[in-house]
Subunit: 288 residues, 2 copies
């Protein structure tokens, strides 16, 4: 069936958005729409311009016989700043304060639109690194991990605090919680991670970094590499952080339960968004 | 800034896909693109035709001053059949058999693309019912619940097996596991669910239905209503099911650990996809 340009643009936009990071050949689109490659090329130019102008992302064109086009989701700096500001405003609400200085974030983590947007923030930074899998620990980090992984087009593995019969054999480690100094356990199914994988660690909250350090230890057991660490909220009142390089979206300072006050600022995110190098197209694999 | 039709089509497609179930006024698009409403109307006609033809979903037009357009994600029957067949094939792999007749599904549940597609299957059935929130129980159902909720544009609440300090005060219930007959506990944060909410329950696996029954009991404590139940996999070898009306994507029969054999068939999904009534536009709220 022959498609008109207008229909092609609509369907190609949907297709590219649903297949982030895939390399799609021009022939695939030419066949799909029974159209000449030259027309497809023109369509892609229009889509690329619009994506870049509207802060949706970009299209990378790879020349040659094995070439094609690849959609890289990428949030614009302006959209990122607006979103993080909105998030800070929501988190600063003193009603979130719970006994012990904990913060109620369940509503924010329960909102798929916010969660997807956070996923796009992280994916925009990590799309130019080699990531094979996103890892998190049950349960609060799970939705964030899926949102990031969706944009990066990689699977998710979930570390647990206990082992389950439905996971098969597992590897477990002990680690020291950074803030309470207690010994805890983490478990990962043996089947779920390949040796040598490049792993992006994602979590919702980081205090001293004990949990993330635990995930790093478990990666060592699998001979896997830490390709990056991203947390939604970091808490600043920590003397000694166990983790060095990480990206945070939001930073808490001065959580005062008595005075019912929370100070919320943007995290170190923009340090990384700015230094985003040009994407390296040398190691692109053909997928379509 | 003025947009040409081609750029409008690309950006509107992205906007609609990112805002499922929202009612967007024509004025919003007219302002966004500095274009006449008549042009926007023509754009929407093209998008609607392409979405329907390609199994992406449909656009509902609501006439009048408070009117606009609403994107309803809706998988085509053909795409749904192909996808479920593929899923059955993957699940039937005898390597998935674990001791005790359990099935390893972690890789499938760890694949965001598969998970999103399952979310679209459920959303296609439930988009014409009044759903305020999607509920699941930690941990395996979480990614599915977010995928469904994303397409339905509603929040997710997660029931836990234990209470956490970061959730504030909670309501807990005891329930009887259907297959092992053991007493178990479920906990939900008080703040996370409003009275009278219409709740879609989503889970990855259902044997006798004890866990889902537990979620139904906890909804009673919140005076909330069960608006639907969806499970990815149901196991058929159950004499007495505790749950009546549910939708399953895949059904297991004849799991034989000794012979290393699993029979996997499609679940009852198509009974519900076919009976999908025309969407009721009477109770649409204006959001944009």
């Amino acid at each position: 069936m022959k498609f008109r340009r207008s229909s092609r643009l609509v369907d190609m936009t949907n297709y590219l958005l649903e297949h982030p990071q895939h390399l799609v050949s021009l022939s695939y689109f030419a066949d799909r729409y029974d159209s000449a490659k030259s027309s497809i090329s023109e369509d892609l130019t229009i889509i690329k311009q619009t994506f870049e102008q509207q802060g949706i992302g970009t299209l990378l064109t790879v020349a040659g016989a094995a070439g094609g086009v690849r959609f890289i989701p990428n949030i614009g700096e302006k959209e990122a700043r607006e979103f993080i500001e909105l998030l800070c405003g929501q988190i600063a609400n003193p009603d979130r304060l719970l006994p012990g200085g904990y913060l109620y974030l369940t509503d924010i983590l329960g909102n798929p639109k916010l969660v997807n947007q956070v996923g796009k923030l992280f994916a925009s930074v990590y799309s130019n690194r080699k990531i094979d899998v996103v890892m998190t620990v049950a349960t609060k980090g799970i939705p964030l991990a899926y949102a990031v992984a969706s944009y990066l087009n990689v699977p998710v593995v979930i570390v647990r605090r206990d082992s389950k019969v439905t996971e098969g054999s597992t590897v477990s480690i002990n680690y020291v919680s950074g803030s309470t100094k207690r010994i805890q356990t983490m478990v990962l199914a043996k089947r779920s991670l390949n040796e040598g994988s490049n792993v992006l660690i994602i979590d919702d909250f980081m205090k001293a970094g004990g949990t993330i350090n635990g995930m790093i230890s478990i990666l060592e057991e699998f001979n896997a590499n830490v390709a990056g660490i991203g947390v939604l909220v970091e808490s600043e009142e920590i003397e000694e952080r166990l983790v060095d390089e990480y990206i945070s979206i939001v930073k808490l300072t001065n959580v005062d339960v008595k005075e019912k006050q929370i100070n919320v600022n943007q995290g170190n995110y923009f340090k990384f968004l700015k230094s985003n190098e040009v994407f390296n197209i040398d190691d692109i694999d053909m997928e379509e």
